[in-house]
């Protein structure tokens, strides 16, 4: 088999690159190897090699504890391999087999000692509710609902205790339905059927999850159903190794976990850049013309329409869409504006590059136009040559491998973990509009001689407020995804923000900004903590949309004024450099801070508050 010998060559090339110190190239080859032969053996190889690359590439570390009622060990290498490919280095602790209840209840258990960032609760219906599984046919109807209630109460208690004792994000498997109900056809005829009882528990779990922060339900039954209930299970492995999932399906559980861990780690995509010909429609507009391209409700145009629907769904989730296509702009724009089969229209795209230039260069331009880091870009193109070119020129861009068959395009986009969101803020829902207003702003800017005149014209109003119930999700989200203007890049979950928001502990402030072109929404966060006479800035960040409009100065001035009024003599903050936050590196210096300490590239900046605060820009009204 030639593919296998190719795999061997790739493995030796990867080992050569690692020993030669070419970490980035090694990563490129590792992801190529995974694309060619994703599987258990390759996963073990990837994990082993990525561990050798630690410290040489940027990785986000996260600790995952798994509580389980079955053998999950074989999923772990698959999970860690795919996590590494997303830039996430997972340390996984496996709870003892079927010991999940003790681990949750015992405050000194290995679960809590591990201090996980994420807890996965993977418990199966037969283990949690045996009466509703093999014993169902023996149950009286009234016993069915009392069993469902008992299981629901168990869940409710565990979730409450987990939430009290750990600030980790919790991912809980919902319960699966039986492939062959105990009473056969009758199961669907009764309201007290076996499936109905399990669904009732799942419904209650969703409700319990909404009563707490950071509790996420993994639709395990949906996952099993999606892949086929009968194919998912392997009864022999269950009976011999307590491993209920068929070997070739383990990867799907790993991927489902990753769909949560990717957004929890902040490794999310913010922009999707798409090609046009043979991607958004079938055929080539420059050759086939408007009537010739395939796009509509019928085959084959339907495949492209369903991809467009998938992209539109992403836009509704706050992901910006952009076009990068090699075409004559007039022809392509005409199709975008007028083709009756188009679901997407020019207004849905925040940036457009239709020209004959190199695509990597176009992507760089789009990144700077939108002011979004290119590391949160996904590139969609049917042409493998363009994909390879972007992959090697811009290793930070995630290049989606579209399948051969256009009918599978939409699914490939929908399955992509970097588009997952665990919560949606108002800002997410309005993002495309926000960027359109941004476009008008930058047009207006050209009419002014000086920045200050432009700022005055903008009529900016800022509202600084302590974090509240209504803003906590957005505040946590900003800490998780802001990379550029972020002084410390500390990522916090909603739960952690809620704990910090205790006024005795910390000041967690948010800033909303609006101007004559529209409302930016909540765009900045500052977290400070008083230590004696020093006010320490734990977090200071601003969404890239408002950087450079002196909003940052207004927020810092507000903090300084407040700290002084509480009797603080000093305002201090670290600048912790990352690959992406250089725009913030001179922030403290520019505002009169002096270096107080330096450590391994990081610098601690200090401002003496007794010698006067920071002037707030006169053109921003702060309330």
């Amino acid at each position: 088999m030639s593919s296998d010998s190719k795999g061997l060559d790739l493995r030796s090339e990867i080992d050569r690159l690692i020993s030669a110190g070419s970490a980035d190239l090694a990563c490129l080859r590792l992801s190529e190897l995974w694309r060619n032969e994703a599987g258990a053996a390759t996963a073990a190889f990837l994990v082993n090699r990525y561990e050798k690359l630690r410290g040489k590439i940027a990785l986000f570390s996260s600790r995952v504890a798994v509580l389980r009622s079955f053998t999950v060990e074989p999923v772990v290498p698959l999970l860690r391999a795919e996590a590494f490919l997303h830039g996430i280095d997972l340390t996984v602790q496996m709870g003892d087999f079927n010991a999940y209840v003790q681990e949750i209840l015992d405050p000194g258990s290995s679960l809590y000692r591990f201090e996980p960032d994420v807890i996965v609760v993977a418990v199966r219906t037969p283990d949690l509710a045996p009466e509703l599984w093999q014993g169902y046919a023996d149950l009286a109807p009234e016993a069915v609902s009392s069993t469902a209630e008992r299981v629901t109460n168990n869940f409710s208690q565990w979730i409450r205790i987990l939430r009290e004792r750990s600030s980790a994000a919790v991912i809980i498997h919902s319960l699966e339905l039986p492939a062959r109900p105990a009473v056969g056809l009758l199961d669907s005829q009764r309201s007290t059927g076996q499936s109905a009882a399990i669904q009732q528990i799942n419904q209650a779990m969703k409700q319990i999850a909404t009563e707490h922060r950071g509790i996420h339900i993994l639709d395990y039954d949906g996952l099993v159903a999606r892949h086929g209930r009968l194919r998912w299970h392997d009864e022999q492995k269950w009976l011999t190794a307590r491993m209920p999932i068929a070997a070739d399906h383990l990867i799907f559980l790993a991927r489902e976990w990753l769909r949560f861990m990717v957004p929890l780690s902040g490794r999310i995509a913010k922009v999707l850049v798409t090609d046009l010909d043979n991607t958004l429609w079938g055929g080539v507009i420059g050759e086939d013309g408007m009537p010739g391209i395939k796009l509509g409700a019928e085959y084959p145009g339907a495949a492209y329409q369903s991809l467009q629907r998938a992209l539109l769904d992403l836009a509704r989730r706050g992901i910006l869409l952009a076009i990068c296509s090699k075409n004559n702009p007039e022809e392509a724009m005409e199709a975008l504006e007028k083709h009756p089969g188009m679901l997407l229209r020019p207004k849905d795209f925040s940036a457009v590059r239709i020209n004959w230039n190199d695509k990597a260069q176009n992507l760089r331009e789009i990144a700077s136009e939108l002011n979004v880091g290119i590391d949160s870009f996904v590139f969609l193109d049917d042409n493998p040559v363009e994909r390879a070119q972007v992959r090697s020129a811009l290793p930070g861009v995630m290049v989606l491998d579209l399948p051969e068959d256009p009918i599978a395009y939409a699914a490939a986009v929908r399955d992509c973990a970097v588009f997952e969101r665990l919560a949606l803020s108002n800002e997410d829902l309005r993002r495309t509009t926000l960027y359109a207003a941004e476009h008008q702003r930058s047009e207006a800017k050209n009419n002014f001689q000086t920045k200050e005149d432009f700022f005055r014209y903008l009529d900016q109003e800022a509202e600084v407020a302590p974090v509240s119930e209504a803003t906590i999700a957005r505040v946590a989200q900003l800490t998780q995804k802001t990379n550029q203007f972020n002084l410390t890049t500390r990522r916090y979950s909603e739960q952690q923000i809620a704990e910090m928001a205790d006024p005795q502990e910390c000041q967690v402030l948010s800033i909303k900004v609006r101007d004559r072109f529209g409302d930016h929404g909540l765009v900045g966060v500052a977290i400070t903590r008083d230590e004696g006479e020093t006010c320490q800035i734990d977090t200071f960040l601003l969404s890239c949309r408002v950087i450079g409009r002196t909003v940052e100065t207004a927020l810092l001035a507000y903090i300084a004024r407040n700290a002084a009024s509480r009797g603080c003599k000093r305002l201090q903050g670290w600048f912790l450099p990352t690959k992406k936050n250089s725009p913030a590196s001179e922030f403290y210096r520019q505002h009169g801070f002096e270096i107080a300490a330096q450590n391994d590239g990081a610098s601690l900046w200090s401002l003496n508050l007794t010698r006067g605060g920071i002037d707030s820009p006169q053109w921003i009204k702060v309330s």
Binding site: D4, S5, L8, G39, A40, A44, P74, Q236, T240, A247
Partner: protein, 81 residues
């Protein structure tokens, strides 16, 4: 690449040992990393790679890399993919 070489490649990936240091007689007796978890991983990897399902009896038959390759070969003849 023959079945033995493919199986050896899988064992090499899973156990973190270069393929040229693995032969037909390599087994839990002479490879320290080959514990019960790795044995399960090996079985699952063979099933996944070759599209088979191994019975509990067959899982027990695998005592070394050579056994694994022979088993896969005979199963593949039974039911070609």
């Amino acid at each position: 690449m023959n079945v033995f070489e493919q199986v050896r490649g899988i064992a090499s990936d899973l156990l973190g040992i270069p393929a040229d240091q693995i032969n037909a007689a390599s087994s839990p007796e002479n490879i320290e990393a080959w514990d019960s978890v790795q044995h399960l991983n090996l079985v699952l990897a063979l099933e996944e790679k070759f599209g088979l399902q191994l019975s509990p009896e067959e899982m027990e038959q695998i005592r070394n890399v050579g056994d694994a390759a022979r088993l896969v070969e005979s199963k593949a003849q039974e039911s070609p993919r």
